[in-house]
């Protein structure tokens, strides 16, 4: 893989009942997908607090992926519906902080959809490559001082 290519760093939240099992199935089936996503196991996609997502971006993530059971299949009935309601609102908030909504992905992966899980990671990685690095955690301008001369026209 070309090394100079931008390698986005993705934090993933996988629900234990469906997506994590789906990811394991992708593993046992040896389906290859890019290594950019490091998954975190939660009991349900409903457990993913928007604060986690914001914290991940603040600490340098280029993208955050939340994977849960298909609506109606949630082991706890309503968890994925809560995730489905929180994500669009969170996307609008992120956009106002200059973070493109495409950097947050909510997807449904059932326990038997290993192939779909891998495909989701591939498409998300490519999207983030197109968007380029976010590096929200990069320091602010060195002196944090605005060099006014740049903006002021020659008087």
């Amino acid at each position: 893989m070309a090394t100079d290519q931008f390698e986005p760093r993705i934090v993933g939240f996988l629900c234990r009942w469906c997506s994590y099992t789906g990811a394991d199935l992708a593993g046992t089936s040896r389906i290859q997908y890019p290594p950019n996503m490091t998954p975190i196991r939660v009991m349900c996609s409903g457990r993913v607090d928007p604060t986690f997502v914001v914290q991940a971006f603040a600490e340098g993530a280029d993208g955050v992926m939340i994977a849960g059971c298909h609506p109606g299949d949630c082991h706890y009935d309503v968890g994925n519906y809560r995730a489905m309601r929180r994500v669009p609102m969170l996307k609008n908030l992120l956009e106002q902080f200059g973070i493109s909504p495409e950097r947050l992905m909510l997807t449904w992966v059932s326990a038997s959809e290993g192939r779909k899980f891998a495909a989701d990671v591939v498409t998300f990685t490519e999207t983030l490559r197109r968007l380029g690095p976010l590096n929200f955690a990069g320091e602010t301008k060195a002196t944090d001082e605005l060099n006014l001369k740049e903006t002021a026209p020659a008087v």
């Binding site: 394991d24 593993g27 040896r30 890019p34 290594p35 490091t38 891998a118």
Partner: protein, 161 residues
């Protein structure tokens, strides 16, 4: 609760299933340098008898307070390691498993990237386990009746048994 923990990290080869793409030694060495890590080892088969005995001895010898096992999926061997650490007197819920096989070595071919990812996963597990608290299981009674849904030959057999 943080920084005062003595964490034991065990990175598994799983024969070659993990080590064929993840440089297990490098991951172990990286883990040794992480805050709170008292010792970091790698071993061919963590889920084997000797693998579990090693954990138990280390817990006693180095009085470890937390354990991280980087190997296969928790859905497979989480219970195995819980029993092992419990055997050595450590609360079974202060250990964390890091899935560097199904979600790392088996699905990535680029050795460098896979090793780096394994390191990040182990780092995440170490940071997480240092925040873990001791938890205690609850026992509940089991109702003696059983319900069989469906009365084909399989259901009939189950009911009769």
């Amino acid at each position: 609760m943080n920084g005062t923990e003595r964490i034991g990290v065990y990175v598994c080869h799983c024969g070659t299933n993990i080590s064929h793409t993840v440089d297990v030694e490098a991951v172990a060495k990286y883990a040794a340098g992480l805050p709170g890590v008292a010792l970091a080892k790698e071993y061919k088969y963590m889920c084997s008898e000797p693998g579990q005995d090693m954990i138990q001895e280390d817990i006693k010898e180095h009085d470890l307070t937390r354990v991280v096992v980087a190997s296969c999926s928790p859905l497979m061997h989480e219970v195995t390691v819980r029993v092992a650490v419990w055997g050595a007197g450590m609360n079974p819920y202060v250990f964390q498993m890091s899935n560097i096989r199904e979600q790392c070595s088996w699905v990535h071919s680029d050795k460098r990237a896979a090793t780096e990812k394994a390191m990040r996963l182990v780092h995440g597990a170490v940071m997480r386990v240092s925040q873990h608290r001791e938890l205690f299981e609850k026992e509940v009674p089991v109702h003696p009746d059983v319900m069989v849904v469906g009365a084909g030959i399989a259901g009939i057999e189950a009911a009769l048994r």
